[in-house]
């Protein structure tokens, strides 16, 4: 910041202060490096026993036979996250468009604030609410599928045990949890669309919806994409709420009602009773999750940072 000012008379104090500040700043890098190192060394046993790709590629998770593979959980994580985004993105976009284009100022601010409050509710509280409100709803849905001979035959919605716990419940609660992240980025990038862009479209006789569809959304597309990827990052690592409702079985789901597990949820669920190779495999999963979120976040940040010199704060 002081760059443009004339350099201050240098003093020994300046050197010491700068040294301390750089040391502290390097602590941030150290936290990152240490995390990666720690996860790798603790998970190394799993990688060396099964081979890195053997570990990732196998879907066998058998503590009795001491065979551990990550594939089930990678699939579970990908499925829950992507399906949650499929639900969350259109809703988040709707709320972002509402507060930027439709709502009068007196309504726009409170609605933005309420959407942000959604992000402030702790994961465990979403989990609790899901157990007692969402799970019974899904259970009823499962029962009505079971009782309906036409629906019963459809593979994707087959019900094995109508417990209400499973992929769909996890996806629903996850969608609620990532909506505020997508919505806030979308809102910020839509606000960045120049007013002239809107006026030009209106001048051509476009309706409000046509202005949004042809002038605003294409302009904001890259930023929205960045927000979606950022939300994907959140969804991949979301743990507690998902653990509470996904059912925690080590099977790849075949129907949206099947119980399964994600990388994060299996760590939360099994860490307590794990030891030896199983413990190492769980930490290995954590290492994979770490790498995955670094890649996803890095990509999202690059997309968002390219839009504005300052970037958009999330």
């Amino acid at each position: 910041m002081i760059k443009s000012a004339r350099p201050a008379p240098s003093s020994r104090g300046d050197g010491i202060f700068k040294g301390i500040i750089i040391f502290i700043a390097l602590c941030i890098v150290a936290i990152f490096g240490l995390s990666m190192y720690e996860l790798y060394t603790s998970g190394k046993d799993a990688f060396s026993t099964f081979g890195f790709f053997g570990f990732i590629g196998s879907s066998i998770w058998d503590p009795v036979a001491q065979r551990f593979g990550a594939w089930t959980f990678i699939a579970g994580t990908a499925l829950t996250s992507v399906l949650a985004l499929v639900i969350a993105v259109p809703l988040a976009l709707a709320s972002a468009i509402f507060v930027t284009e439709y709502a009068p100022r007196w309504l726009s601010e409170p609605v933005s604030y309420l959407v942000e409050l959604l992000a402030a509710i702790p994961s465990v509280i979403y989990g609790l609410w899901a157990i007692f409100v969402l799970v019974p709803i899904v259970r009823n849905l499962q029962l009505s599928v079971l009782l309906n001979p036409n629906l019963r035959e459809i593979d994707l919605i087959q019900v094995t045990a109508p417990s209400g716990l499973g992929l769909l419940t996890a996806v629903l609660i996850l969608a609620v949890m990532v909506i505020p992240y997508t919505a806030s980025v979308a809102r910020d990038v839509i606000r960045l669309v120049p007013q002239e862009q809107r006026e030009a479209a209106y001048a051509l006789g476009a309706t409000k919806w046509e202005v949004i569809r042809t002038a605003i959304l294409p302009y904001a597309r890259a930023g929205i994409m960045g927000g979606v990827i950022l939300s994907l990052g959140r969804a991949l690592g979301e743990t507690i709420a998902v653990t509470m409702v996904i059912g925690n079985t080590t099977q790849v789901p075949k129907s949206i009602f099947d119980s399964t597990a994600t990388m994060a949820s299996v760590i939360a669920n099994q860490f307590g009773e794990a030891s030896g190779l199983q413990l190492s495999s769980l930490i290995g999963l954590g290492f994979l999750l770490f790498l995955l979120s670094v890649v996803v976040n890095f990509t999202a940040r690059i997309i968002i940072a390219r839009l504005t010199p300052e970037g958009i704060k999330v």
Binding site: D14, S42, V115, S123, E210, L230, G286
Partner: protein, 289 residues
Amino acid sequence: MTTHALAQNKVGDGKRRSRTISNAIAAGFIALGTLIVLLPLFAVFYYLIAQGLSSIDLNFFTKLPVPVGEEGGGLANAIVGTIILVALASILGVTVGVGGGIFLAEYSENKLVPYIRLVADVLSGIPAIVMGLVSYGLVVMTTGKFSAISGGIALGFLMVPIIVRTTEEVLKLVPLATREAGLALGLPRWRVIMSIVLPTALGGIVTGVMLSVARVAGEAAPLLFTAFGNQFWNVFNLDQPISALPLVIYNYASSPYEEWHRLASAAALVLVVMVFLTTLIARIATRRR
């Protein structure tokens, strides 16, 4: 008007009508979507108040948990535990976070700045449970036991990136002229930063810290295998397991007992009020400035 022109006009009318209709439908969907987004917020609140409020009394804040079936009992140790954990986390989070923020904002000519900013950003996307694993490896495996300290470190790691970025933002809002005035008086740069820039930005920095506190106070995942939780008082033994509201909610909500479900809802209500108040105060404080 020729018939040709009339026919064209009719086509135009039909088209205009369909455009008006799609415009109205789109507006309807957007309003409906916004309502659906806000629905869970109200539903969660309604549920917590309906289920939890009746279990909140003085005992809840002053007594220890009792076994299922016994009357009375509260979650005093979990409330205190959460405060202790967050305080421990803040020692780490504020030191590294504010220091890092000063570096990014005040030494922006330094070549390291863009890299450290990127690392801080990427760090903010690391899942909380992964930070729990890191603290488990660093502290629990080394010392051989679950502890308040290991939980505090896990939460501290989560606070750092949030505080770094908010500190950087508010420091950048301090006008350049303020710094120049200090330098013109002959103050060394470090005095300008410590005695002029930081006090000017203090309100904003405190806001950032409070937002990060609100965020980590509700985390259960990284505490599962660090702070671990217990049933007793633990205020001074920071090398022992410690209870925390999110852990209690997680355990009680997943239990089969009706009583514990009610207590979990009450704990959730207390936690969410704590978190919202912190967030609200932080936001109001920023808006005033």
